[in-house]
Symmetry: C2
DNA sequence: GCATTTATCGTCACCTTGACAATAACTCGA
DNA sequence: TCGAGTTATTGTCAAGGTGACGATAAATGC
């Protein structure tokens, strides 16, 4: 295929279409220590040498966006399988993002339980978890427009918790209602009434599935262990339905 | 800037990054004749010559995505100013979308009142409104992966109505509650109780603003004219907050 | 044991919602 | 001019959801 093929056949353009480097970035969010954390790498080269940045890299020819995002995540963190829910967040650029020129990036959002990342030295990258608030408060500065992308990702994560059962993907396969509540409290930065949360979480049909087992060893009464119900489990790449909340203006059933 | 600049400075890649043609597509939706309509053009050249397609075109160097979408919309429909709410929908590709090779497209969603489009012959394109259901039912086939993009856009539009005040952008600047209700009924494909809808729409603070004026000349009792309240008015390019609905699991105020 | 901690169940007042009656205010045709 | 028809708007009421919070259950740790 030659570039001129576009010139001759595209009614939208009489000129050779511009081509852009396209990258994918992954905003991997997890909940640890009662706070939302994001996975960042340290840049070793210019531009933004020494600055923290989102993991990501160039899309290869013949590759899909989600595939590229999963590949870059694997390459830079060492995780073979996507450890949670991966979805497209949005695209940024191509203008004014990279001092070297126009680069379009397609940001992705990964919601996952805390997973181990490549320790410094095992690769050229230093990947580690950082509290999100340190970045949003301005204490940590990121490369490129990654602060804005992170801010958008956090907003998306917050509303995902309102409108979808995806809060559970921050938890392990089996979890207690209190652990799930801790996720909501960390992401939203608020406290929730344990009794009302319990009523809502267990009372929402199609959300939680009781495993019949309970926790042991912790202080206090043992808690029932739940898992995400099949209906609420996110299909890979698919949009997540809002199982949780009856919105205001709503189409009748 | 040379291509080799990436080779030397990007830790993510030791090779020359691939470059892709990047297009923007616009899914312009409107409500007319109690149905959702989409703006389509007829392709005059291969591939997909004679097939209907979403308006769109290549992103230019130094151009932002939203800017490109607005420009392509203007070029192919003749509208100078964006006639409604334009936001990014999502990106598709670059693999397997175009028989000529990898092309990444960033789809955009325009929600707007019915606006006049370029009549056939005034340009190389024939732009016209088509009922969305004709496409989704398979009666009309679109070029590339535009049917999938349209389906995603319709889904997005439906949930926008649930979670945001954007239903009003389908109406004129001043509108009646019944006109607004007709939008909801058309987008959702259902009937809504006029009395309950009226209560909800007028009772939601920060949504509608009474102009003090009423309709005249129509059959039946004159209806009060409203406009979208300033708080609910969409900021250009900004994400729309959910003013309308109290979701299930919700952060306390 | 007993205090402490955490989980879970209940209660109650208030609000929202859906179904639907009733009234208001216009147009239109006889 | 006078209904008849049509559309808009205000109410009413029962059912269900929600927030605040009391009470109980069942473990741990001393």
């Amino acid at each position: 295929m030659t570039i001129n093929a576009y010139d001759e056949s595209m009614p939208e353009s009489r000129t050779v279409p511009a081509r852009f480097p396209v990258t994918v970035d992954v905003v991997a969010l997890t909940v640890a220590d009662d706070a939302m954390n994001v996975l960042l790498i340290t840049r070793l080269l210019e531009p933004f040498r020494g600055r923290l940045a989102l993991p990501g890299g160039f899309v290869l020819p013949g590759e899909d966006l989600i595939t590229a995002a999963a590949r870059e995540l694997a390459e830079e963190t060492g995780v073979e399988h996507v450890p949670g829910h991966l979805e497209q967040l949005g695209s940024y650029g191509p203008k004014g993002r990279d001092p070297r020129g126009d680069v379009l990036t397609v940001a992705h959002l990964l919601l996952a339980p805390n997973f181990p990342v490549l320790s410094a030295g095992s690769d050229a990258k230093h990947a580690a978890w950082y509290p999100v608030h340190q970045v949003l408060d301005g204490g940590l500065r990121l490369a490129f427009d990654h602060e804005r992308i992170l801010a958008d990702a956090v907003e998306r994560a917050k509303s995902k918790l309102e409108y979808s059962p995806l809060g559970a993907v921050f938890c392990d396969k089996e979890f207690t209602v209190a652990q799930l509540r801790a996720v909501y409290e960390a992401v939203w930065g608020t406290r929730l009434d344990p009794r009302n949360f319990h009523r809502k979480a267990t009372g929402t049909s199609g959300f939680l599935e009781d495993t019949g087992r309970v926790t042991t060893g912790d202080a206090g009464r043992p808690a029932a262990l739940f898992r995400l119900a099949p209906a609420a489990r996110p299909a890979p790449g698919q949009p997540t339905r809002a199982v949780l909340n009856p919105p205001l203006m709503r189409p009748p059933p």
